[in-house]
Amino acid sequence: MLSLTRQILTGTLLIPVLLIPTISVAFELPDGDEVARRINARDEGVAVARNLTMQMTDRRGKTRTRETRAFRKYYGEEKKTVIFYLEPSNVRDTAFLTWDYPNADKDDDQWLYLPAMRKVRRISASDRGDYFLGTDLTYEDIKLETRIGLEDYTRKTLGEDEVDGHHCYLLESVPVDEKTAKELGYGRVEQCVDSKIWMVRRAKFWDIKGKQLKTSHFREIRQVQGIWTQHRIEVENHKTGHNTLFIFSDIDYQHGVDDELFTQTALRRGL
C-alpha cells in the first residue's frame, strides 16, 4: 500500500529537478506526471481536526445524515485517523480508529467502539476499493483525499477545461495493470485539476468494464490557516443512483491533535 507521506517526500524532493522543464515549456500543457506531482506537492498539514457531516441519499431520495468529529495526524510515514459519531443520538459515541502503515505488506489496523456494547473491538482492515463508511467514496479515495496514487496509475494530460469558473487541466489516469484496476475498482479516472492551486475540482470514474461509475465535485475550496481546503465533496454514483455529500467545518490545522486521541482508551472515553 502506498504511503501518502512518502509520496509527499518524493514529490518534494523531485520539485527542483522537474521545475526546470516546466518553466521552459510554459505555453504547452504540463504533462500528466507533472500535474500529479504538483497535486501531491501541496501542503496538507501534519494534523487536522474537523467536523464532518456525511449525508447519503439512496436512489429513492431517502437520506441518512451522520454528524462526526474527525481527526487525522501523520506520524512520519504512518497515518492515524479517528472518527467519533455525534448524531444521530442512538449511535452517538460510536467511533472508528485506523492506523495506516506505509508498508504495503502490513495490513492497516482498525478498531471500533460500540457504546451500547461498551467494548472496543478490533475489526479487520478494509480493502482499498471498499466503500468508506457506507458512502460513495472508497477507502483509497479517503486515504488520498485529493491526491494521486503515483504507483497505481499511468497518466496523461488530455487538455483544458473549466469547473465552477476555474481553469483546469484534464488529467487522465489509467491503472497500471488489471490487478490494480480491480483492487481500486476503477478502470479509468479523469480529473479536472485547478491550474493555479493544484486542487482537483472534479473527478469522473469509470468501472473496470469502462462503464461510467461516479462523478465527484470538490467545492468551496478556500484557504484555512494557509492551507487550501475543500469544504464540500459531492459524489454521485451513476450505477446505483446513490449519492454522498461531505461537508467539512470547524477545520483546524494549527492547534495540534493530541496523540492520546488515536488510542483504544480514547475510543472508549469518547470526546
Binding site: 436512489r59 437520506t63 442512538n90 472496543v120 475489526i123 479487520s124 466503500y131 463508511l133
Partner: protein
C-alpha cells in the same frame, strides 16, 4: 325447393350480383389482405409471464413496489456441483468457482460489482479481540486441507448455507445481477457457452438458471416451436382438403381464405397495438381451422351440385351452392363469434381477452371472404367435376364416394339404437361432471420446457441442493423511521421466519434479523450462543451503522429500506408449483393476520410466488364462469339464429358434453387446469358448435322446408353434410393434432385437448342430434306432433305444443 323457385330468392339475387363482379371482389379481397398484412411488421411480442395479468392487478402492483423499494432483481444463477466426497470444497472446484466468477464479470450485461460467489463474499468471523472480515481465500487453495478450512469457515456462516452453498457442501452458486433485463436471454446463452468452455474436471457439473433466463427463454422457446408447428398444421389441412375434393382449387382456394383470416386478425392486433402474447400462438391454428371449415362446406356443396346438374353453367352452380350454404355458414360464424365473445367478456387475463376479440375478427373475415371472394373466384374457373362427386344415372342425384358411403353406414348404425345412445350420452355427462369436480388447478412455469433442457436440469438441481429459487417476499412496514430497530419488532420478524420455515417446500428465509444475529455473534468472540438478536435498540442501531459502514452503500438494500422503516423477508421455496405455493401463501397470510400484525407493525405478502398464487387462483375461480358465459353466448346466438330456444339448447348440448368429457379425461390423466388448458373450453365451444349448427340447420331444411320424411332426411344428411363435417373434423383434429407433436408440453396439451374436444364435438353432434330428432321430434325441426317427453326435457308448454 325447386330449381326455379331458388332463383326467386333474395339470396340468389345477391350471389348472382356478387358473381357478376368476381374480379372486383378478388382485387378488393387482395387489397384487404395487403392492407392488414402491412401492419404485421409493427407487431410487438410480449412473452413476459407478467403479461398474463392486467397491469392493475393488486398483487402485481404490490410486487413491483416491493421490488423497487428493495432493488430486487431477477439475477442469473450459475451452480457448480461436485458429487465427489469433498463436494465443491476441493482445490479444483474452488478454482473453477474462481474462474467462473472472473469470466462472468467480463460478460456484457453483467455488473462486475454485483456478482456474489464464494470468491467475492467475505467471511465475517469473531475472535477474542474483535471481528475479522476477510475473503474465504486469498490465494486459491492448492491442498485439500486448505479447501477443508474454507469448508469449515463457510459452514460456520449460517447466512450462506442453503443460499450460497448447499447444506451438504456438494454445490455452490455464482449469482450475477443483470444490468439490462430485456437482454437477459443473450446473457443466458453467453453463460451456457461459458459453462461449456469452463475447465471443469470429472465429477463437476455447471448449471445455469435464473428467473430472468426462464422468462426470456420461455417466450422464444414457444415462439420457435409454434413457428414450426403452424405451417405444418396448414400443410396437414391442405392434404386433407385434397383428399376430400381431389382438385387443386379445393386444396388451394381455402388457403387463400386462411391467409385472409390470419392476416386480418393479426394485422388488426398490430394496428391496435395489441402485443403478440405467448397464448396468441394458439390463435393461429384456431383461425386456420375456422377459415377452412367454411370452405369445406362450400366446396362440398359446390361439387355435389356439379355432380347433380352437370349441364348447368359454373356461375349457376356457384350461386346455387351459396344459396344453400350462406345460411349455415353465417350461423356458424355468429355462434363461433358468440363463443369467443364469451371468452372476451369472462376472461381475467388480457392475453385471453384479446384472444377472444381477435378470434372474433378473424372468424368474421373468414365469413366475408367465404361469401364473396370464394364464390367470385369459383365463378371465374372452368368447372371440372371432383372425382369425389360423380353424377348419378338418375338426374338430380349425386353418387357418393367412399367417405359418403362410410358416413351413411355410420348414420344407420347410430339411429339403430337411439335410446342406448341417449343413455350413453347421459352417463358420459354424469362422468364428465364428476371429472370436472376432480380437476386439479395447478401451474408450474418450468414444465413448459422439456425435461432434458438444461434450464430444467438446472432448476431441479438448484431446488434440490439449495433453499430454492422461488421467492415469496414479505414486506414488513412500521410507521416511523428506525422503528425496525425496536427489539420487539425484530422478535416478531424472527418468529414469522421460524413459522414459515416449518412449511413444506420452504427451504429458508433471510431478513435483517439474520444479519443482526451474525453481527452479534461476530462481535462477541464468535460464540455460538451469541447468534441472537440483542435486546437493546441502541446496540441494534449501532450494528446497523457498523454494517452500513462495512459494506457497499447499496449492499443492504434488499433487506431494509434506507430510513429503517420497511424490511423485507425473503422466503425461498424449492417448488414453483401452484399447489405448493398455495399452502405456503395461505398459511403465511393466516399467520400474519392472527399472530404478526399489531399496532405499529404490519406485513404484506409479495414476490413472484404471491403473484403466481393470486392469478392462478383467479384463473381457477373464473374458469367455470367463463365456460358458462361462453356457453350462454353460444346458446343465445343459436336460439336467435334458429328463432327457437329449444333449438339453441339442443345446439349447445354436444359442446357441453364435449367440455365435460374433456374435463373428465384431463382429470383422469392428471392434466392440470392451467394457463394453457383453461383456454381450451372456450375454444372448443367456439369450434365445436359448428358441427351442431351445420347438423341442425341441414336437418331443419330437410325436414321442415323440404318436407322429407325423417328416414329420407337422415339418408341425405349423412352423405352430404355428414361427409363435409367429417372432413371439417379431420382438418381440425389433425391440424391441432400436429400441435400435440410439439416439443413443448403446454402446446402438446393444448393441441391434444383441442383435438380431443373437436372429436367429441363431431361425434356427439352427428350421433346425439339425429337421435334427439328421432326420439324427441322437436317442433323446431318441423315435427308437428312432438312426443310428450319433449315437454319434460325442454320445458315446452302445453299451449305452445297445441299451436
Amino acid at each position: 325447393m325447386t330449381h326455379n323457385a331458388l332463383k326467386q330468392t333474395r339470396a340468389w339475387r345477391v350471389f348472382w350480383w356478387i358473381t357478376a363482379f368476381p374480379r372486383t371482389f378478388i382485387v378488393l379481397g387482395l387489397a384487404l389482405i395487403i392492407a392488414c398484412a402491412s401492419f404485421v411488421p409493427s407487431l410487438v411480442k410480449d412473452t413476459r409471464s407478467d403479461a398474463f395479468l392486467p397491469d392493475d392487478e393488486p398483487a402485481l402492483v404490490y410486487r413491483d413496489k416491493v421490488k423497487d423499494i428493495f432493488g430486487l432483481t431477477d439475477p442469473m444463477v450459475v451452480a457448480v456441483v461436485n458429487d465427489g466426497p469433498h463436494g465443491v470444497f476441493n482445490p479444483n472446484s474452488l478454482a473453477l468457482v474462481d474462474w467462473l466468477t472472473e469470466e462472468i464479470a467480463r460478460l456484457d450485461n453483467v455488473d462486475p460489482d454485483r456478482i456474489t460467489s464464494l470468491a467475492t463474499e467475505n467471511n465475517i468471523s469473531g475472535y477474542e479481540e474483535g471481528m475479522r472480515v476477510e475473503s474465504f481465500w486469498e490465494a486459491i487453495p492448492e491442498r485439500q486441507e486448505q479447501a477443508d478450512q474454507v469448508r469449515a469457515a463457510v459452514m460456520d456462516f449460517p447466512l450462506y448455507i442453503g443460499s450460497l452453498v448447499a447444506e451438504d457442501g456438494s454445490a455452490t452458486l455464482i449469482v450475477a445481477e443483470v444490468s439490462d433485463q430485456t437482454k437477459a436471454q443473450q446473457l443466458y446463452e453467453d453463460l451456457l457457452m461459458l459453462a461449456d468452455n469452463a475447465p471443469a474436471n470429472a465429477g463437476e457439473q455447471i448449471h445455469v438458471a435464473g428467473e430472468g433466463a426462464v422468462s426470456g427463454y420461455l417466450g422464444s422457446y414457444i415462439d420457435a416451436d409454434a413457428q414450426r408447428m403452424n405451417p405444418l398444421a396448414a400443410l396437414v389441412i391442405t392434404i386433407i382438403l385434397f383428399i376430400a375434393f381431389r382438385t387443386l382449387r379445393g386444396a388451394l382456394l381455402p388457403n387463400f381464405v386462411v391467409l385472409a383470416t390470419v392476416a386480418s386478425a393479426i394485422g388488426m392486433m398490430a394496428a391496435f397495438e395489441v402485443s403478440f402474447f405467448v397464448v396468441t400462438n394458439g390463435l393461429l391454428p384456431v383461425l386456420i381451422g375456422i377459415a377452412v371449415a367454411d370452405s369445406i362446406h362450400i366446396f362440398s356443396q359446390y361439387y355435389e351440385e356439379k355432380a347433380r346438374y352437370p349441364q348447368d353453367s359454373p356461375r349457376e352452380i356457384v350461386v346455387r351452392t351459396m344459396v344453400h350454404m350462406w345460411r349455415p355458414i353465417t350461423m356458424t360464424t355468429l355462434t363461433t363469434q358468440a363463443g369467443f365473445f364469451g371468452l372476451y367478456l369472462a376472461s381475467v387475463m388480457p392475453p385471453m381477452q384479446y384472444f377472444g376479440l381477435f378470434a372474433m375478427i378473424g372468424v368474421g373475415a373468414a365469413w366475408l371472404f367465404s361469401v364473396t371472394v370464394v364464390p367470385g373466384w369459383l365463378s371465374l374457373l372452368k368447372l371440372k367435376p371432383s372425382p369425389s362427386y360423380r353424377p348419378d344415372p338418375q338426374p338430380g342425384q349425386a353418387r357418393v364416394d367412399y367417405f359418403g358411403r362410410l358416413m351413411t353406414k355410420f348414420g344407420k348404425s347410430v339411429l339403430h339404437k337411439p335410446r342406448l345412445v341417449l343413455a350413453i350420452a347421459f352417463v358420459m355427462a354424469v362422468v364428465g361432471v364428476y371429472g370436472a369436480t376432480q380437476l386439479e388447478l395447478n401451474e408450474s412455469r418450468i414444465r413448459v420446457f422439456q425435461k432434458h433442457e438444461p434450464i430444467v436440469k438446472a432448476d431441479t438441481v438448484i431446488n434440490r441442493l439449495f433453499d430454492g429459487a422461488h421467492y415469496l417476499d414479505i414486506l414488513v412496514e412500521t410507521p416511523e423511521a428506525e422503528d425496525i430497530f425496536k427489539p420487539q419488532n425484530l422478535a416478531r420478524i424472527e418468529a414469522l421466519q421460524s413459522y414459515i420455515e416449518t412449511l413444506p417446500h420452504v427451504g429458508g428465509s433471510t431478513s435483517v434479523v439474520d444479519y443482526l444475529k451474525q453481527m452479534n455473534r461476530s462481535l462477541n468472540e464468535g460464540r455460538r450462543d451469541a447468534y441472537v438478536v440483542p435486546d437493546d435498540k441502541d446496540l441494534i442501531a449501532q450494528y446497523f451503522l457498523l454494517y452500513s459502514a462495512s459494506a457497499d452503500p447499496t449492499d443492504f438494500q434488499e433487506e431494509v429500506d434506507y430510513d429503517y422503516r420497511l424490511a423485507n423477508v425473503r422466503v425461498s421455496m424449492n417448488s414453483g408449483k401452484y399447489s405448493d405455493e398455495k399452502v405456503v401463501v395461505e398459511s403465511a397470510q393466516d399467520y400474519i393476520d392472527s399472530h404478526f400484525n399489531a399496532p405499529g407493525i404490519t406485513a404484506h405478502l409479495s414476490g413472484r410466488v404471491n403473484v403466481d398464487y393470486h392469478w392462478i387462483k383467479r384463473l381457477g375461480e373464473t374458469n367455470w364462469g367463463s365456460v358458462g358465459v361462453a356457453l350462454f353466448m353460444v346458446w343465445l346466438m343459436a336460439s336467435l339464429a334458429f328463432r327457437s330456444v329449444v333449438a339453441g339448447t339442443v345446439t349447445v348440448l354436444p359442446v357441453t358434453l364435449t367440455v365435460l368429457v374433456v374435463y373428465a379425461v384431463m382429470a383422469a390423466s392428471g392434466i392440470w387446469l392451467s394457463i394453457s388448458t383453461s383456454m381450451f373450453a372456450a375454444i372448443a365451444i367456439g369450434l365445436g358448435v359448428d358441427f351442431a349448427v351445420h347438423t341442425i340447420e341441414r336437418l331443419e331444411v330437410l325436414l321442415r322446408d323440404e318436407h322429407r320424411s325423417l328416414d329420407e332426411s337422415m339418408a341425405m344428411l349423412f352423405p352430404s353434410t355428414g361427409r363435409a363435417l367429417f372432413f371439417n373434423f379431420l382438418a381440425l383434429a389433425l391440424g391441432f393434432g400436429v400441435l400435440a407433436t410439439s416439443k413443448i408440453v403446454i402446446l402438446q396439451e393444448f393441441g391434444s385437448i383441442v383435438a380431443l374436444a373437436v372429436t367429441v364435438s363431431f361425434f356427439s353432434s352427428l350421433i346425439l342430434l339425429p337421435v334427439i330428432a328421432k326420439v324427441f321430434r322437436p317442433r323446431f325441426l318441423g315435427f308437428e306432433n312432438g312426443v310428450k317427453s319433449l315437454r319434460v326435457n325442454f320445458g315446452i308448454s302445453e299451449s305452445e305444443q297445441s299451436n
